[in-house]
């Protein structure tokens, strides 16, 4: 494997509320190598979104740090693209599909010709070559999420974060989108961190799967998915190895639901 791209070191996140504090994340430490596809799976309420926001620089961790290509993240780093779960809320409803994909490119001050090129490439890649002029809300949920993905890849990120992107679409669309993400990753080689609550999805997509515990969150397990690189919905999902990995992860998640890390005798992150 090539060098480390993303290094998450002892990240802890405590939300301070009205006189009480909630520890969402106790200690997360892991790395993602350049070009890797890593899935993060955990029971609901496992602080997955908090983790993603910390990595994206949208939230500052209470302690610990996120290092991207050797630089500590403080605020959203350039070269990172995020696809949010709420596709309906992450696309600008007053812009056409084209406007949505182009806006970040304009912010990068790319010349017009290059913008147009990226726009066409990205929309073709997600299979939306013919809806440039439509508004997002005129499209189905799956298509909206495709637009969000197109916006992310047109941005030419070094790392792509995806926060349960398919949680709100129907099963058939979901399978299609999973294959899309797989093929984009293989085609572009972009490092991808994919957060999901769906074990099958994690196994199907990832090279590695990180299992998170319930809040306060820890990394419980780091499983390498040794399935062949060429995967398809039918044969991969029915293979014996898939079932085995899935069974293993399922057991882990069951454990994760009930696992509560002992209160640390001294501040967390310590060894």
């Amino acid at each position: 494997m090539t060098g480390t791209l993303l290094d998450v070191r002892g990240v802890r996140k405590v939300y301070e509320g009205h006189g009480r504090s909630v520890e969402a994340i106790r200690d997360l430490t892991f790395t993602v190598a350049k070009g890797e596809m890593v899935c993060v799976v955990g029971p609901s309420g496992a602080g997955k979104t908090t983790l993603l926001k910390c990595i994206a620089g949208l939230l500052a961790p209470t302690s610990g740090e996120v290092v991207l290509e050797g630089e500590a993240v403080a605020g959203p780093p350039p070269g990172m693209a995020v696809v949010f779960q709420e596709y309906g809320r992450s696309l600008f409803p007053w812009m056409t599909v084209r406007g949505n994909v182009e806006l970040p490119l304009k912010q990068k001050k790319l010349p017009r010709a290059r913008r147009v090129e990226l726009l066409h490439q990205a929309l073709d890649a997600v299979g939306l070559g013919d809806v440039h002029g439509a508004y997002p809300w005129q499209l189905s949920g799956g298509m909206q999420q495709r637009v969000a993905i197109a916006r992310a890849i047109a941005y030419e990120p070094r790392i792509l974060l995806m926060d349960e992107p398919f949680a709100a679409v129907d099963a058939q669309t979901r399978a299609d989108l999973e294959d899309l993400v797989r093929s984009l990753w293989q085609g572009l080689g972009v490092t991808t961190l994919f957060v999901t609550h769906d074990i099958d999805e994690a196994v199907y997509l990832g090279q590695r799967v990180l299992v998170l515990s319930a809040a306060p969150t820890l990394v419980l397990d780091d499983v390498t998915v040794d399935l062949p690189a060429e995967r398809d919905q039918l044969s991969t999902r029915s293979s014996a190895r898939f079932a085995e990995l899935r069974g293993h992860l399922f057991a882990q998640i069951q454990r994760a639901k009930t696992y509560h890390p002992p209160d640390p005798p001294h501040p967390p992150g310590g060894n």
Partner: protein
Amino acid sequence: MTALLRRAARNTLAAAALPIALLALWWVFTADSDSYYLPPLSDILASVDDVWLHSGRLRTDVLPSLLRLLAGFTLAVLLGVGVGVAIGSSRRLRAFCEPVLEFLRAIPPPVLVPVLMLFAGIGNTMKVLVIVSGCVWPILLNTVEGVRAVDQVLLDTARCYGVRGPARLWHLIIRSASPQIVTGMRQGLSIGIILMVISEMFAASNGLGFSIIQFQRTFAVTEMWTGILLLGLLGFLLATAMRVFERRALNWYLGLRQTQRGGDR
């Protein structure tokens, strides 16, 4: 095709029937009216030409009124949206300003006419300021609400993709708040028309409000009625213009809402 035509004809009829009937009633009932207050509609309509067109009042009175309204309204929009975005973006600033704003916007704007007369005399400046002082509150407060309601996911998205500075202000904040801003503009415009008239009734040497009140003071009742009708027509036309603007500016919003409602149930 014929069904479509028939439908269109039916809609036009439905829209036009009552207004025509009302005007006809007015016409008939006042036809041989010798009431001092209620001259025959025919007389009123016949004198429109004399009072407003031939005399040049359209240019000397209506145009200045409209220009003052336009100036005041434009200033109020700039001020309201500018300050509203600032206040809406900062929780602290909002907490700081809110009670004062609550008080200021509760003052009925026409009472500021005497105040502004002190500062700016009775010229155009005073009248424009009066219009601004009334129009600005609904625009400001609605902008604050709109900016507050910007979706958190959109804010995050913009941050992630490096959308900041003027692009963030325009493409994210103002566009997102535009439905509320336009609502504020619509409310502001109707207050603006009222203030345009009142500032002229109070102290002026020209203007639509001035003319109407002159007619009333000189007991030129028929002329007064033409003024009232003209003012009504103006109010209607401005509201229609506002609606056209709204349709165009909020095209996306109307479409979005329709799909949301259709998808809900």
